[in-house]
Each structure stands twice: as structure tokens, then as C-alpha cells.
Symmetry: C2
Subunit: 335 residues, 2 copies
Amino acid sequence: MPVTNRQIRLARRPVGPVRPEDWARTEEPVAAPEEGWFLGRTRYLSLDPAMRGWLDDRPSYLPPVGLGEVMRAGSIVEVVESAHPGYRVGEFVSGTFGVQEYVRSDGRGTHRVDPALAPLPTHLGALGMHGMTAYFGLLEVGALKEGETVAVSGAAGAVGSLVGQIAKLKGCRVVGIAGGPAKCAWLTGELGFDAAVDYQNEDVRRALRTHAPDGIDVYFDNVGGPVLDAALTRLAMHARVVVCGAISQYNNEQAVQGPANYLSLLVRRARMEGFVVFDHAARYREAAREIAGWIADGRLTAREHVVKGGVDDFPETFQMLFRGANTGKLVLELT
Amino acid sequence: MPVTNRQIRLARRPVGPVRPEDWARTEEPVAAPEEGWFLGRTRYLSLDPAMRGWLDDRPSYLPPVGLGEVMRAGSIVEVVESAHPGYRVGEFVSGTFGVQEYVRSDGRGTHRVDPALAPLPTHLGALGMHGMTAYFGLLEVGALKEGETVAVSGAAGAVGSLVGQIAKLKGCRVVGIAGGPAKCAWLTGELGFDAAVDYQNEDVRRALRTHAPDGIDVYFDNVGGPVLDAALTRLAMHARVVVCGAISQYNNEQAVQGPANYLSLLVRRARMEGFVVFDHAARYREAAREIAGWIADGRLTAREHVVKGGVDDFPETFQMLFRGANTGKLVLELT
């Protein structure tokens, strides 16, 4: 059965926001898998702000996506044909399979996901890279201690919503920063955050003074820009600023806006630290087990924002991230 | 003996560089010290970039100098009259006595200095706050390890010149960043740095690539601005950026220029950490003993840039710091 595989490739390096012309849709036949390989059909694609960084031609924690290459993306595929000893037809596999309908894989860098443990999209969110990022960023890099005050930006996003909930589970006061009243209501309602700051309609600096009167012990930053600068003015002594991302800056055509208030690190004897989740791979299993337990107990809400469509819908769906149009983990379900 | 005390007071809060009109010179009589106090005559005044920050009316690690107050400054005074049980006439005392010719003190926050151990100005530099800043900033905050590569900005200044030398003593490769060929020659000559980068005449980023080909493990920053941004592009994995100061930004009339390349902290899994030397006061004695030993052995050069004059020369001498006109610790000797 030769199948036609539709793919989204990087056609041109974007300058500023990604434009439709920066992508190309291609089709090619997929042959049956050879010995030791399997063929997977993509069911769910993970969409993530960090993917914007992979499009720029500069050194980073991963090499840039090459021009003409299939766009790199995490996904969950269903095994439709297998000559691989570890995977059987009908099983679900997670890996960095790219924005395409089918993938042939020898299984390296993949793992089986159990749909009985949680719905498939959750394996791309709370039980996937986003859960790992929130867990290790907050607990290891942020060195969170019970009773501390945590602030998190991008708080209604895939990582931020988990960061705040994990901090609550660890006995901390949590202030989320998000865009718009609906997201803020979700944070303080269903997710149980202590307070939410609507950066679109509030003075973030003043609101943080109100909601974190003793200062912020751990600030988990997903956005950069003016929100980071506001948070830097409210650090407690010996605070930790966890640099996870800077979505407000990824589409800049000019230089990134650096944090003008970084000297508060000196005044507050604080540190700002970056991390890449891959470094914690040896402990993924342990973290996923703990997160899965919280979900099963109803103590942690894993929310995915699922858009249904085809690979052709990838470009437009990806842009939702930069408009703040998603709440929770953004996933494209290929139907 | 009523003496006339000349003082330099803060007359106006400077906007941008400090202007002569921002200071006022006053005179007042000084009475004899009462029981438990001593009268000191200022011999050496410490001039330090951090003093610029004390002039701004904003919260920091110390309260701002009040309008009309004698300018805060560290100094060494000679006891000229004493009703204090711990200090005798003729002894030398270090403290934050301010920019004035005489001071009455009850001894709190002061300590005796031994002119036999090192020349008096050295007690304001390598054996004073600057030595402590270099020592604890590099070894504690920077968590320096033998064999690492260290870069330091403001490398020919009071703190930077000590940072580089201590790093050499700890078995590290050291690259100093300073302004002008004379300073750079001093760094690689007398001080034994492995390399020096002249930020006035070289592309700092490119020079760091040459002199720290495997990246910078500890970057000790005294200057901020474009030099900090250049160093951020050259961090090694798990690097530590020690935020000690930002002299390039202290006279800004607009906002501080934040480090646009701060996301390299993420890519390099690095941290940027601030500190205030006072937090290490419990270990000053231990550090001063080690530094004094290095000086005595000829393994560490303590250089002071001594300007002779009166308190009236303070305003102009202070500005030398921001022109990069000093090499080593800037001291005003009252003659």
C-alpha cells in the first residue's frame, strides 16, 4: 500500500512573524517500512512557541530547521505498519516526527504512549515535554520551597498552567499573568491560582505589588519583554527567575528587548537561570509518573486546546500561539 | 580645639552624569568627641562607581543619600582625638565616614587598619570592599572551579583587576576587557592575564571568540551595556554571569539598556546572579587574610590610583571613574 504523505516544509526563513509563503506543502509517496522500522500515521501534532526559534538560522539548543526540510514537531502517531520489534500496529508512539501525515521511523527517540493513562493529547502536554518543562523548570531550576510565592507568565499556556498548578500542589502562593479576563478567570477558578493579572488590561507592576506583597520568590518566565521587566521590580530577596521562553520576542524583526531591570538581580541577590528540558531526560519517567498521579487524583487539570484539521492547517494554527488564542496546550488533531 | 570641617553634600539629584551644581561644599565646626566617641581626620577617600547609584531616589541595597546630607563614602581616617575605649590617637580607622575632612564616630561599623600590613590606600582597595567584592563575587557567586575560563569587564578597575588575578591564582584562564591599549598591556603584563580585549578598539564579541574559544565559564560583569551583551554570546554550557555592576549604565538619563542576548542563558543553561558584598561580612576577615597573604608573597598586585587634593576635588575626581580615567582603585588622598 503506497500512501501519499502530505508534508509542511520550511520554504523560506521568516523575518518577524511567520507568513504563509514561508511554508511549502509537498506530497510524496511513502513506501512500506523496511526491517526494524515502522510506519506511523500522525494523529496529534504539538504546537509550541519554541518552534519559532527553530526557524531562525542561528545556533541554539537544537540546530535550525533546514530550508526545504519537513518542519520539526513533536507528535503522536498510530502505528499502521510495523517491521519494528518493539511496536505493533495500533499502538501509539510519541516522537519528533515532524509536520506530516505519515512518518517512517526506526524507533530512535520515540516512546510508546498509553491511551488508557490519559487522552492522547495529554501525552503531548502535561505528560509530554510541557509537563517536563514545568516540572523541572519550577522544582529544579527554580528550586521551589514550600510556602514561597510564585509568579508565572504565559500562565494560561501549556507550560504556565502546569507551573502554577504544581506550585499550588507544593504549598505555594501562585500569581498567574495572562492575557484577558477569560484566561484569568480560568486560572483563579478551575486551576485554583491565588490571583491572576491580566497584562492586557492591568498595570502588571502594580498588580504584582498587590498580589505578591512580600515579593516573588520564583518567577517563571515564558514571555520576556515588558512583563519580565515588571516582574523583576518585584523580586523577593534571593529570588530565582526561571527563563523558559520569551514568546513576546520571538517574532521581533529587531533585536530582542533585554530586561532593563536586570540590575534588580543585584539589589535582591537574585539569579536568572535558563534551562533546556532535554537535560532532565533521565528523570522524565519519574516526573510523568507524579504528574499522571495528580491528574488521576483530580488535583491537576491538563487542558488541551485541540484544533481539528489537516497538515494544511498547521501554518494558521501555529500563529494562534502568538496571538494568545489558545488556552492550555495547543494541539492540531489530524482528522 | 574647635576645627573647621569641610564637607561635600548632595545638593540636587543628578539626572544623567553628575554635574558640579549637584554638590554643595559646606563648612561647620567640629566639637571635641564626647565619651565613647573619637574624632578622625580623613586621610583617604574611596571613590567607587556604586556611589552613583546612591544618588538616585529609588530603593536599592542601601537607602539613597538624602538631599543636603554629606555624601556617603568609605574612607580611612586618622584618630586625632579619642574618648573611645577602642581607638587611640594616631591609629587609622576604616569606615563609611563620608566626604568630609573630619568625622566624629562612636566606632560602630568601623575597623582599625594596620599600615604595617599594607599601605593605607590598599585597605580601601584589595583589603577593603573591592577585595571582598572580587573575592566573594568570583568564588562564591561565580562558583569558580580550577581550569575554567573567566572573563571580566572593567578589568583594569579596582574590582576587575582583583577578579582576574584571583582567577589566575585559582588556576583559571583569564580574559580581561578594558578600555585602551595601556590598560590592556597592564593586564597581560604585570597582572598576568592570559588575554586582554580593548573594547574601545576591538570587536569584543570576535575577540572573545578568539581568546575564549571554548566559551566563558564565569563572566564577571562590572559594566553592563554592549560588553555584557557581547559576553552573553560566548557563554560556555552552565556558565555563571556574576552581576557586580553596570558602570556603562549608571549615568543613563533613559532606562538601563537591558541585555538583549539574555536568552543565551537558556541555550547555554547558564545563570546570571547578582550579589551585594555586605552579605558576606561574616567572612571578610578570612578573605582579607588570604588576599594579604597573596600581596605579601608578591602573587597579587594591589594597585591604587591616588589623586591628591582636598574634599573640593571630590566631584571632579569622582567623574574620572566614568571616563575610565583610573587604573586600579581610585582614591582621593586629602593632603
